[in-house]
């Protein structure tokens, strides 16, 4: 009869020592119903480290379910040849870095203590290629370190272990943001790696008052979520509110910042985005500098910024990289086209169906001529065209790029020209729908453009049924809705309603930077002054040849 412990016995003994009798009994029976894995996963915060390497190996194999990406290796360290167990996740760890670091540690080990416990301290104190080595005493800390891409080194006879910071997750390089392009301005966009993103922010705001607070959300995903703010500028009440709203999230997974957005916004019963999402570090920095708070999520290039306003959604980063007269023109165009995106087809239908007297006679005659023979009322015609346009747009996004061009041809020829020639659709309607489609792409934020596109259908049906009367009421209802919305306590439709004259210098008009002295009050910054007085142009240079003679 052999006296050597089997892996099952050693695990059962370890669990018994840890005070988990029920789990120990399950382990001793060989875990017939596969309950142990889940039970231990829940109890892992209570599990201490054991000096027995075999027990630890069994425990980690059980916790990770012998997952194929978990690699275990045995090493011997120091003059005492203390046995060590190295654990790491393949693909998550920077293997060359880890190998180099271990080799360096081995080469220095001649002067190391021969006993396990002092050896842990010695290893932690050595300088190698591995940037950071920390000592942990709990199983859950080690499991978390492993899941973050670090390596774990356990030594036989030591009730403490080392985590070796050697994260090496596959990450995308920094690229230009795909959804928020600019002609003039920074080209860097966020990536999926949260530490790259915090570094991109830090590189722009090199001030010790910029703070990052990281927490984990998602029971299964354990996603790292970081709050960024500028201390002394951001209101403490706002910061507490953000912490509290993030803290109450209890979900299994956070895979994208939108998951967080839906759980922290003031109300979900609206089509308008109450949290700003951006993949541009400069936009996040601008928000932070206005006293707002950014929320970065690991695994997505989209950062969130709160509080936000409808006005912010109509702004493009480039508005601040161009001189103000040009920005004024662009913003006027943007608001005009946003109105067309919402109301264009509705106006056409209302005027041609109910209020023809509003149109100048030559225009009315030409529309009536074009509509002659069209078998549908204007509202049905518009709805058909709008739905076809939306389908084409959606198909254009999902289709492989190689055949995306075919979609444009189908759209232009079949839907447009052929439908007009067949007498199903009138030519003015094609123009109206095309203009509306174009207009919706002028709105800088995609989420805002989608809201307007959705509401366009409501407007269209209202205008087709009740003309200008219905349209006016529908617009007023949207206004009431917009005015009643709040984003983290800030009125969403500010600075228009409530009317905040101080903030109007960055609405449709953007004042020159030296006049734009105050931070917007919607971000509720603690210090509102951002530009000192007297920075306006001061033409003190004498004209050459006309210098004042003494």
């Amino acid at each position: 009869m052999s006296t050597r412990k089997t892996p099952v016995d050693s695990l059962a003994a370890y669990l018994r020592r840890a005070g988990l009798a029920a789990e120990a009994a399950l382990a001793a029976q060989g875990d017939p119903a596969n309950q142990l894995e889940l039970a231990l996963s829940r109890q892992k915060a209570k599990l201490p480290l054991s000096p027995e390497l075999g027990e630890m190996e069994q425990l980690f194999l059980l916790l990770f379910g012998a997952s194929t990406d978990l690699e275990t290796r045995h090493h011997r360290f120091g003059p005492g040849a203390v046995e060590g167990l190295l654990l790491h996740l393949k693909g998550a760890t920077d293997l060359p870095l880890l190998e180099r670091g271990l080799a360096e540690l081995q080469s220095m080990a001649a002067s190391a203590p021969a006993v396990a416990e002092p050896l842990v301290d010695w290893l932690a104190g050595q300088r190698s290629s591995i940037p950071r080595t920390t000592i942990e005493t709990k199983v859950d800390q080690l499991a978390r370190a492993l899941l973050d891409g670090n390596a774990v080194l356990l030594l036989a006879g030591a009730a403490r272990a080392l985590t070796l910071a050697a994260e090496g997750w596959p990450i995308r390089t920094i690229e230009e943001p795909k959804t928020e392009g600019v002609i003039r301005g920074p080209r860097q966009g966020f990536t999926e790696a949260i530490f790259t993103n915090t570094a991109l922010i830090r590189s722009r705001i090199r001030n010790e008052r910029l703070r990052f607070e990281t927490t984990r959300i998602g029971e299964l995903t354990g996603t790292r979520v970081t709050i960024a703010y500028i201390a002394g500028l951001c209101q403490p009440t706002l910061l507490d509110e953000v912490r509290q709203r993030l803290g109450r999230i209890k979900v299994d997974a956070i895979l994208e910042s939108c998951n967080i957005e839906e759980l922290i916004e003031d109300t979900t019963w609206t089509v308008f985005p109450l949290v700003k999402a951006t993949e541009r570090p400069d936009v996040v920095c601008a928000s932070l500098l206005e006293g707002r708070i950014a929320i970065l999520t690991d695994g997505t290039p989209f950062a969130l910024s709160v509080p936000t306003t409808f006005n912010e959604m109509m702004q493009s980063p480039e508005d601040y990289f161009e001189r103000f007269p040009i920005v004024l023109l662009i913003r006027v165009l943007r608001w005009l086209f946003a109105s067309i995106a919402l109301l264009g087809p509705a106006f056409y239908v209302a005027f041609t169906t109910f209020h023809q007297e509003m149109l100048p006679h030559p225009l009315l005659l030409s529309i009536l001529n074009a509509r002659e023979g069209v078998p549908f009322p204007a509202v049905i015609e518009a709805l058909m065209m709008e739905i076809a346009f939306e389908a084409l747009r959606e198909a254009g996004i999902r289709m492989p790029k190689q055949i995306g061009q075919a979609i444009s041809i189908v759209g232009a020829l079949v839907i447009g020209q052929a439908a007009v020639q067949a007498g199903l659709i009138s030519a003015p309607m094609v123009i109206v729908v095309s203009l509306t489609g174009l207009a919706s792409f002028v709105v800088p934020k995609f989420s805002e453009a989608v809201s307007l596109r959705l509401l366009r259908f409501v407007m269209l049906i209202t205008a087709g049924t009740f003309g200008a009367f219905g349209l006016t009421l529908a617009v007023l209802c949207i206004l009431v809705h917009l005015i009643s919305l709040r984003s983290f306590g800030a009125p969403y439709y500010a600075p228009m309603a409530p009317l905040i004259p101080d903030d109007l210098d960055d609405h449709i008009l953007r004042a020159p930077l030296w006049m734009n002295r105050k931070r917007p009050s919607t971000g509720s910054p603690r210090d509102r002054t951002r530009v000192k007085k007297g920075l306006g142009p001061q033409n003190r240079m004498p004209v050459p040849g006309e210098e004042e003679k003494p």
Binding site: A468, F469, H481, P491, A497
Partner: protein
């Protein structure tokens, strides 16, 4: 304590709109019939007779009870049950006012925007939007009022400018040719229109700085007066007083005269949409007042269904008038004598109660 706060500027815009928007469409005809070419002088006079006393009384009440809601003040001044009765009476007054606004919109829209559509459909649509706005709360209504007021000012200014070619200044001369009596007679029917803003009493007590309440009310009434004077003057200068009094909706006819270049003409639909926006704000404000007063008076919970029920009652009430003419007769002949006593009496009663209570308390403590 009040938790919802509106600024005195927001209240001024709300009051400006509340006092002028319904009158905007047919006031020139009503005044021209009595005061002739001097009709425009009747507007400031009626404001002085109707709006200023109510403003003064409300401002005194707010000063004596800063930070309290209207309902708390009513109970504090009159005692629990009489106070509740006073609040209920204001709720019913506001409800009736809402029904009048709905009827005005139905009559006007059925002629100008949706001929052939059943009136009840128009009433339900408008009342639905009103209920939505009222349910959003007084803060939202006040903020919406600012936008609608600016839109109304812009429209009236635009119309006045667009009519420059049609205006004949001699049509208002000689000034006071018939003496001051016609001006006074013209002012009387519309005095009640200015005083009816007692329905906004719950809003007045929500003004964030009570010491600015009087200023907000006076500015609001000045805004309304300015807009109405501009409109009555434009109408008389364009059509002359005899023609104006024959038109049922003179402002609507005025909008038809506006033509800028050869592309911007027939602006009556534009005018109607602006008017409709203002009417929605007015209806929402009075509906909110009605709902809030009835809720406080009857001890009902704060629930959306209560607003819906009150809106349904307002729609039903709006159907009691047999024709637009009947409503016009009521508004010009009956409204002021019927309501002016209440408009002035309610704040006066509360103020009296407040003084007496304070005196009694002082007497007890002495």
């Amino acid at each position: 304590m009040n938790t919802v706060r509106i600024s005195s500027q927001q209240f001024a815009c709300l009051l400006g709109l509340f006092n002028c928007i319904a009158a905007l469409i047919f006031m020139p005809a009503v005044l021209a019939k009595v005061a002739g070419p001097d009709a425009w002088l009747s507007v400031p006079l009626s404001m002085l007779m109707g709006a200023v006393p109510v403003s003064g009384l409300l401002a005194l009440l707010v000063r004596r009870h800063p930070g309290q809601s209207f309902f708390q003040v009513a109970e504090a001044c009159l005692g629990r049950w009489p106070g509740r009765l006073a609040v209920l009476s204001l709720g019913l007054f506001s409800l009736f006012l809402t029904s009048l606004v709905i009827r005005d919109v139905v009559d006007q829209s059925a002629i100008a925007l949706l001929p052939g559509t059943p009136r009840m459909v128009i009433a339900i649509l408008f009342a639905g939007a009103t209920a939505y706005a009222a349910n959003a709360g007084s803060e939202v209504t006040a903020r919406l009022a600012v936008l609608a007021f600016l839109l109304a000012v812009f429209t009236v200014a635009f119309m006045a400018l667009g009519l420059q070619g049609e205006i004949v200044w001699t049509r208002i001369r000689p000034l006071l040719g018939e003496g001051f009596l016609p001006v006074l007679r013209g002012a009387w029917p519309v005095t009640g229109w200015f005083a009816q803003f007692i329905a906004l009493a719950p809003f007045v007590f929500q003004i964030s700085r009570p010491e600015k309440a009087l200023r907000g009310m006076l500015w609001g009434n000045l805004f309304a007066t300015g807009l109405l004077v501009a409109l009555v003057l434009s109408t008389i200068l364009t059509f002359s007083a005899p023609l104006t009094e024959k038109l049922f909706y003179p402002t609507y006819s005025l909008a038809r005269q506006v033509a800028i270049g050869q592309f911007l003409e027939r602006l009556e639909i534009g005018l109607m949409t602006v008017w409709l926006s203002g009417m929605l704000v007015k209806a929402a404000a009075s509906l909110w007042s009605a709902a809030a007063c009835l809720r406080a008076g009857l001890g009902l919970p704060h629930a959306w269904w209560l607003t819906v029920i009150i809106t349904a009652i307002a729609v039903a009430l709006s159907a009691i008038w047999s024709s637009p003419m009947a409503l016009a007769q009521f508004s010009t002949k009956v409204w002021t004598p019927l309501t002016i006593g209440y408009d002035l009496g309610l704040p006066l009663l509360l103020l009296l109660g407040s003084y007496l209570r304070v005196r009694r308390r002082k007497g007890v403590s002495a």
